[in-house]
Structure formats: structure tokens, C-alpha cells
């Protein structure tokens, strides 16, 4: 039996037993744009405390999957279910930086506070609790000295911390990170991975990360979702036994 089939099987068993404790689950999901499917028959689930890395070649549909999970685009078939008390608007999102942000006049505090916007509804102003939450996350990311600084003057690593603090204002449970170390130098990259691991291990925040960096993914994550021509979903240990994974260990990359 193929590993992926096995996982699908155990997933089905869980569903039949009535387990609903997955934060996110996708069954037979097909996604793409304008009716053209990029990715089909995708099954996976994310449970509280997991650290899932989504890996795959360029153009395999990683970003499309991310947007679908966030509800920014609709799947062609199937749906993304949230469970375990998680609502769609409680997913913290760390997007890739946009051109607009590069010369945006905004203070660090303003940006972090805007993470609370999703819960505002039509309420015009932030509450004391929102502001306290913003400060708490600023401290968590150790950027209090930067709070009044202008975002565009910060280094790449500092900017990522600001956006991470903002994402933490939007969620208590689940973080979705889109290539969080893109464009960072090796030292800052290591710091960023460390920070994310701490959030996962110490604070129990579930992490779903898109990554190009397979080595770091295998080192930090608990689960891997490999998308492309062949789909794999399961634990890191299981992934190392698959063809793609064993090719990786044969190269000596993550062999321990």
C-alpha cells in the first residue's frame, strides 16, 4: 500500500469515527483558476500543535493552495473545513511582501494593530483589549524598541517579525506562513526558523508553512505535504522513506 493511500485511509477512519479535532481538513480538494485545475485529489489535515510544511516545485500550486485555505479563492471541487473551534477568520497569515509595502509610511505599532482588523466588523475603532494584544505580540517578537519606527526603514528580518506579530494578533491557534525566509540572509533565516519553532513548541500554535527550503522543512516540521505530480501527506519520518524523501537522504542532506 502506498504511503499516501495509507494516510488517506487513516484519515477516512478518523472521519468515520467522528473525530473532528482537526483544525483544518481538506478532502478530495481540487484547485486552480478559472476552471483549470492545477492540483487535484488533495487530502490532508492539520491538527492542533502540528507543524506542517508544504513543499513542491515552482508552479506546483503551493500559493494557490495557501490562498484556497485562506478563502481568498474558491476550490474547484471539495472544500477546506475548519474545526476544533477554529473559524476561517482566525487564521494568522504571513504573506510574502508586496511592492506596495516597500515604501509604505506606517509605524510598526500601526501595522501590528491592524492584525486585529478582521474581528472588527463595522466597529470603527480598536478597543483597549486590541491595543493590549498588539503590545503583547510586539513584546513576543521582541520589537518593542522599534514600535515607533517606520516599517520601510527596517531590515528584512525585522519586517518579518512585524508581520509575524500582526499575524499573531489575528490568531491564537493557527499560523499560515508563505515563504517566511525568502530574501533573508542565513543568520536571520536561522533566527526566523527558531522563532517559528518556539511559537509552535512553547506556545502551542499550529504552523502551516510554504517552503522552498526542504532541508529546514525536514528539520523543523512534524508533517510534510509534498505537492506536484506525486502527492505525499504524512509525517516527516514517513516522507524520508518515500522516493522523493529517500533521494534527499541519499544526498546526505538531512541524514542523521
Amino acid at each position: 500500500m502506498e504511503r499516501n493511500d495509507f494516510n488517506n485511509y487513516s484519515l477516512k477512519l478518523d472521519q468515520e469515527r467522528g473525530h473532528t479535532d482537526a483544525l483544518l481538513s481538506c478532502q478530495d480538494l481540487s484547485l486552480g483558476y478559472e476552471g483549470k485545475a492545477i492540483l487535484e485529489h488533495l487530502n490532508f489535515e492539520v491538527r492542533a500543535g502540528n507543524y506542517l510544511c508544504i513543499v513542491g516545485e515552482n508552479g506546483s500550486g503551493k500559493s494557490t493552495l495557501m490562498k484556497t485555505i485562506l478563502g481568498l479563492i474558491h476550490p474547484l471541487k471539495g472544500e477546506v473545513l475548519t474545526g476544533d473551534g477554529l473559524r476561517q477568520n482566525e487564521i494568522g497569515y504571513l504573506p510574502q511582501q508586496t511592492v506596495v509595502q516597500r515604501d509604505f509610511p506606517a509605524s510598526v505599532y500601526e501595522i501590528v494593530l491592524s492584525g486585529c482588523q478582521g474581528r472588527q466588523g463595522l466597529r470603527p475603532f480598536y478597543t483597549k483589549a486590541d491595543k493590549a494584544l498588539a503590545w503583547r505580540n510586539i513584546d513576543r517578537m521582541e520589537i518593542r524598541p522599534l514600535a515607533k519606527r517606520c516599517y520601510r526603514e527596517l531590515s528584512g528580518g525585522q519586517q518579518q517579525r512585524v508581520l509575524l506579530a500582526r499575524a499573531l494578533c489575528a490568531t491564537r491557534k493557527l499560523l499560515l506562513l508563505d515563504e517566511p525566509v525568502a530574501g533573508l540572509d542565513p543568520r536571520v533565516t536561522a533566527e526566523m526558523y527558531q522563532l517559528i519553532s518556539e511559537l509552535n513548541k512553547r506556545d502551542g500554535i499550529t504552523v502551516v508553512m510554504i517552503s522552498h527550503d526542504l532541508e529546514a522543512a525536514l528539520r523543523n516540521a512534524s508533517h510534510i505535504l509534498h505537492i506536484g505530480a506525486r502527492i505525499y501527506f504524512g509525517t516527516v519520518e514517513g516522507y524520508l522513506e518515500t522516493e522523493a524523501g529517500s533521494r534527499w537522504t541519499a544526498k546526505g542532506g538531512a541524514g542523521k
Binding site: 490562498k67 504573506p95 509595502q101 509610511p105 509605524s107 500601526e110 494593530l113 482588523q117 478582521g118 470603527p124
Partner: protein, 279 residues
């Protein structure tokens, strides 16, 4: 006549009041427009308004606002609310609508010259450059401007945090549950209203200046969204007041004078930021 004599004149008072209010509104929205790379939307939409005015004149509508406002709002929604999903991207769409509306408007005015008016090019010139129409406001127009400006300012204050969130990162806002489509729609409608108002003041060609200059000047020196918004509003109000007074005394065209005042402030702020960079 001295400056204080001018200030006694009711038409100068009207012009000052309306001018300052319109400048305030356009500068508040200017910050988000500039940051979203929609600097030219003021220009584009005002050409649409110009085209709609031409149509209104041809079919003989007495109150052309009834046609101009809805058409401009519709185009603003098409351009802005479609946002990042549009097939024709931002700047190209704005350019297309802008030039198209201008051409159609001018063509219509030539084919069906409005009765009683023979000086088409003079008419067109006034619409494009504003002429002195702000000095000939009727009291209904003054009240309309006051009411619409009040709506815009209240909207900006109530939606300030949402405008920030949507401008800084639209997909994050949408992903975390903000109703970005609604906010984009409201922003588009408000922008259309401001532009139709501003046409009275500086004419359609110079509207971009009212939208872009205060925001860009403020961004030279200030570093948070809040301080940039406030500073842009202050610059815009002061430049509009100064421009109108100078125009009244010196007899220069109102719109151009206001824009020149804005250029002056921009130069000053750029210099200040360079000096501060040195220190």
C-alpha cells in the same frame, strides 16, 4: 483693494470655504490612492466626469450632476473595486477610460454644439482647467459641497483603520475576515464624489495634483500613516486657501495657483527631508 477687502466679498468667502473643504477631502483620499499606485485615478475619473458633462449638455440636462455623479461613481467602482483581479491592470485601465471619455466628450460637444454657446474650445478649456468657476458658485452648490465634504470627512474618520488595513495589505485583511470588497467599493464611491466636487475647483486636468501633491509632500517627512494623513490634510488646506487668496488678488487662474502652491510645499518638504538625512 487689500486682502481684507477681498475677504469681505461673499463670493470670495464661498470660494474659500468650498476650496478648503474639497482640498481637505482630496488630500485625505490621496494618501491611500498614492500608496495603491492609483495616483492617476483622479485624472482618469475627472475625464469621465468631463465626458458625462458633455453628454448632459448635448441632451440638455439642466442639472448635469444627475448624470455626472452616477457615471463617475460607476467608473470608479469598475476601476478600484475590481482591484487586483481585473483583467486589464490598474494603470492601463485608468488610461483607457480616461482618454476614451475625454475623446468621446469632446467629439460630442463638436457634433452637437450646445445651443446658445459658440465658444466650444473656451468651454472645454474651462472644464479642463477650472477657470474661475469657483468664484461664481451658487449657494446651492456651496451647500452641496459642504454636505458632501462632511460625508467624506466622517467616512474617513470612521473607516480610517479599515482604509489602513486594506491599503497596506489587502490579502491579509481579506484572509483574516475583513470585508475588503465592501471597503473598496465605499472608497471608490467616495473618490468619485470628491473628484466631481474637485472639478469645480481646479478643473479636471489639475485634480491629480490635489490628490497627489499633499500626500507625497507629507510622505517626505512623516513616517506613520496617521501623521502622513494629518500632515497631508493640513498642507492641502493651507495651499488651497493661499492659492485662492493669491488668485483673487493677483487675478491668476485659481486652479493653477493652488497647484503651484502645492508644488512649492513639495519642493520645501523634499529639501527638508534631504537636510534631515544629512544631519
Amino acid at each position: 483693494m487689500t486682502l481684507s477687502d477681498y475677504l469681505q466679498l461673499p463670493f470670495v468667502q464661498n470660494a474659500l470655504l468650498v476650496g478648503v473643504l474639497v482640498a481637505l477631502c482630496s488630500s485625505l483620499l490621496g494618501v491611500t490612492l498614492v500608496l495603491r499606485r492609483f495616483s492617476f485615478i483622479g485624472d482618469g475619473l475627472s475625464h469621465v466626469a468631463f465626458g458625462a458633462m458633455a453628454v448632459a449638455a448635448v441632451i440638455g440636462l439642466t442639472n448635469d450632476m444627475l448624470l455626472v455623479l452616477p457615471v463617475t461613481i460607476l467608473c470608479a467602482v469598475l476601476l478600484l473595486a475590481a482591484g487586483t483581479n481585473a483583467r486589464i491592470k490598474g494603470d492601463a485601465a485608468v488610461a483607457m477610460i480616461s482618454v476614451g471619455a475625454l475623446a468621446v466628450g469632446y467629439l460630442l460637444m463638436n457634433l452637437f454644439p450646445p445651443s446658445g454657446k459658440s465658444n466650444i474650445s473656451g468651454d472645454v478649456c474651462t472644464t479642463l482647467f477650472g477657470g474661475t468657476s469657483i468664484l461664481t458658485l451658487k449657494s446651492l452648490e456651496v451647500w452641496l459641497s459642504i454636505a458632501l465634504s462632511a460625508v467624506v470627512v466622517v467616512f474617513f474618520i470612521l473607516f480610517y483603520h479599515k482604509i489602513f488595513a486594506v491599503t497596506f495589505d489587502e490579502s491579509f485583511a481579506a484572509a483574516t475576515g475583513a470585508n475588503t470588497k465592501l471597503y473598496n467599493l465605499l472608497i471608490a464611491v467616495i473618490i468619485a464624489v470628491v473628484i466631481v466636487l474637485a472639478m469645480k475647483l481646479v478643473g479636471s486636468l489639475l485634480i491629480s495634483a490635489l490628490v497627489v501633491f499633499p500626500a507625497l509632500s507629507a510622505m517626505r517627512l512623516f513616517k506613520s500613516f496617521r501623521s502622513v494623513s494629518i500632515c497631508a490634510a493640513v498642507i492641502s488646506v493651507l495651499c488651497a486657501a493661499a492659492g485662492i487668496l493669491i488668485a483673487a488678488v493677483a487675478g491668476t487662474p485659481v486652479g493653477s495657483t493652488i497647484v503651484v502652491a502645492n508644488i512649492g510645499v513639495f519642493a520645501l518638504f523634499t529639501l527638508a527631508s534631504l537636510v534631515r538625512g544629512r544631519i
